[in-house]
Assembly symmetry: C2
Homo-oligomer: 420 residues x 2
């Protein structure tokens, strides 16, 4: 009578999403009396739609434990948003059909706001169709934009990477400024919210310490004010370190990244906010620049993951299974902050409907009045999230990340599902 479990990773992967997978699988294995096999979706939800599932029981306890220190998505993730039930009921029905065929009674969906919406709908439709599925969300997003939960697993490690990298690069630039680069720009992720850029602010502790400027998506880019601040910093300290969010926009809503001119093929250049800012500094101030684009490095950097983040990612996976065993449905475990210093946190829960498709932006009072820095309130919030190091094991100088067998579950359905 035991039902099987389906686990899927969704959206952009992180340095710790596999730690959540580890939490789900290890906790399910500890509750074998109540839970059947844990299947994982190959490439996330696509694996359920196309009946391409991975049997995690083929993996040893040691391999599953190693997921805790392995970045990326061990089963594959997907950028695939299921539309509303009214628009694409067939996809939801297909999920239920596959779950039914494989005797799956539990669905753990590890993702952000979109995924919570999907999990919520699956729960709803399963009940309607007479095949109830317990649907539990497992929070994950480097963007830190899920509401209710104190933070999202994945964010703390990106934050730590960005803070550490900013501090290190700033030491480099400071050493060389007299005869070389004056302005260094680090481009970080965060299309809609400035949480990651804000984390760069942790690099500096005393006034005047880099970064000297942070550009947030929440604050309209003011070219004159920006250039004045860069000039001022170079005047005072000989150099200027800028952390810029990829989502930084002009007052009219255009992304700076869209203003980067034409590429070698004459197409409008995309994704180049650092290049745009650098060229501005060169053209208007005549200062020598360098820029780095952290891109996937920042969210894959398990080697410098935050210990708090790893623990929270694991705890969310574990709590998801425990909530299911307690009879909960259509909920997501959350991280509840109990104190800032020392940082203490516990596990709470929230209905999926409360977090689905909602975005938590930076509060305005986390950004300084001039729009270029973080406030003490922001620092108090962010600082605990990057605490502690949780180094992976190394072999021959490189992190020993695990590879799974990812053995396929035999298909039971004759129908093929064609993805649109």
């Amino acid at each position: 009578m035991k039902k099987n479990v389906f686990y899927a990773q969704s959206g952009g992967v992180t340095a710790v999403i596999n730690a959540s997978a580890c939490g789900v699988i290890e906790t399910a294995r500890k509750n074998k009396a109540k839970l059947g096999r844990v299947y994982a979706g190959r490439n996330g939800i696509l694996g359920a739609l196309t009946e391409d599932m991975i049997d995690t029981t083929a993996e040893s306890a040691r391999t599953i434990a190693a997921l805790k220190h392995t970045p990326g998505g061990a089963f594959g993730s997907a950028r695939y948003k299921l539309k509303g039930l009214d628009k694409n009921r067939a996809e939801y029905e297909r999920l239920i059909e596959v779950f039914k065929a494989h005797d799956i009674g539990y669905f753990f969906y590890n993702g952000g706001g979109d995924s919570m919406d999907t999990a919520q709908k699956v729960s709803q439709l399963g009940a309607e169709l007479g095949y109830p599925v317990v649907c539990i969300g497992v929070p994950k997003t480097v963007d830190n934009d899920l509401p209710v939960t104190d933070t999202c697993p994945g964010f703390g490690s990106v934050a730590k990477y960005v803070a550490v990298s900013t501090r290190e690069a700033a030491l480099d630039v400071a050493s060389m400024a007299r005869t070389s680069t004056r302005v260094f720009i680090l481009e970080v992720m965060g299309r809609h919210a400035g949480w990651i850029a804000a984390a760069g602010g942790l690099a500096g502790e005393a006034p005047g310490e880099p970064p000297h400027v942070i550009l947030f998506p929440e604050i309209a880019f003011d070219e004159a004010a920006f250039l004045a601040r860069v000039q001022e910093s170079v005047g005072k300290y000989e150099y200027c370190v800028v952390v810029v969010s990829e989502g930084t926009r002009y007052a009219d809503g255009r992304f700076l990244a869209e203003a980067g001119g034409k590429d070698a093929f004459g197409h409008a250049q995309l994704g180049g906010v650092a290049a745009t800012v650098a060229q501005l500094v060169k053209a208007k101030l005549g200062l020598k620049y360098h820029y780095a684009i952290a891109d996937y490095l920042q969210r894959a950097a398990r080697h410098i993951a935050s210990k708090v983040d790893v623990e929270q990612a694991y705890a969310m996976g574990k709590a998801a299974v425990e909530l299911a065993l307690k009879g909960e449905n259509a909920v997501m475990p959350t991280i509840v902050r109990k104190s800032d210093q020392p940082y203490r946190w516990g596990v709470g829960k929230v209905a999926l409907a409360e977090v689905a498709n909602k975005e938590k932006k930076m509060p305005r009072d986390f950004i300084t009045a001039d729009g270029f820095g973080i406030t003490p309130a922001c620092r108090k919030y962010l600082a605990p999230l990057i605490r502690g190091e949780d180094y992976p094991p190394y072999k021959d100088g490189l992190p020993a990340y695990v590879s799974l067998k990812n053995q396929r579950v035999a298909k039971k359905l004759k129908s093929e599902f064609v993805l649109k």
Copy 2:
């Protein structure tokens, strides 16, 4: 009768150049009977020319020890190449004048090929002018292009950073390829030599493991062959990871970085080899791409420094002082490889004239016949250099890097020296 010591950092700084400074200063302190004060140049050689020197005796033993785990140049470095004696004798005479005024009898110059040339000339001119100065080079360059020595301090840590980052980002891309990015490009340093790009090759061990393509400055860029390889990789593995050296060129000698189109101000775009390659992939193959530019992050990343590199950097600083005490002049200590597996190395020496202004390129047999990968010989050479982790101490989740007082030595000369 004890002479003072002058130490200067030169050129681009590294994650471990301060470990060499630590080796020089600690070894000098242990030999107080024979050596006077250690002065450091503020902003490298500029500090000597402008008589702006730092008295390292003001720093505690604990602070000096902390240099071993602090990236960047603690006293400031400079991109400032002294011209030939025939062209700019005044600068060399000025150095001797400052050394004489401060009773400096030893000059330790921590840099690459250009700096070895300068140290060599100072030694020569001092003797000519009747103020002999013992000039010892301390090797440093992330480019790994100094001859004779097995490797250059600074390189091993960049190599480790690039190998680790490539492995991590590849896991990210592999997880998402089905529905998202197919081609990931990591741009790394190395204007003239492909050593750093080659290190990316360490990320993959078995055939087919990423990176799938490495672009070296030593191999003329063949667009058709490159695109075919990317297509093949995407066909086989669903994705393709490319590590590209900033120095990659077309057969006619132009840098790919120069071919990046126009910026927002209509200027030719520079420094964008990753963007150029990415746009090519998009335009010709229609594949979704992402790219990262490691820039200063790679050479400042003390948090993931190679233990071997840190040890060698320290050993070179220590050996430089010991060579001086043994009566050597115009030499540079070298790293001598004694065996590959296990890696054993010792300290040798070479005349500055043998290393000045010479560049060690990648041997052709370190690059696969197709020009896109590294050979077993290259791997055998590189692998030991990234071995071991040497984590800095952390405080509140961030590396606790040290700041020096950098207290100024009182000027003794009335003449001002104006830099050109």
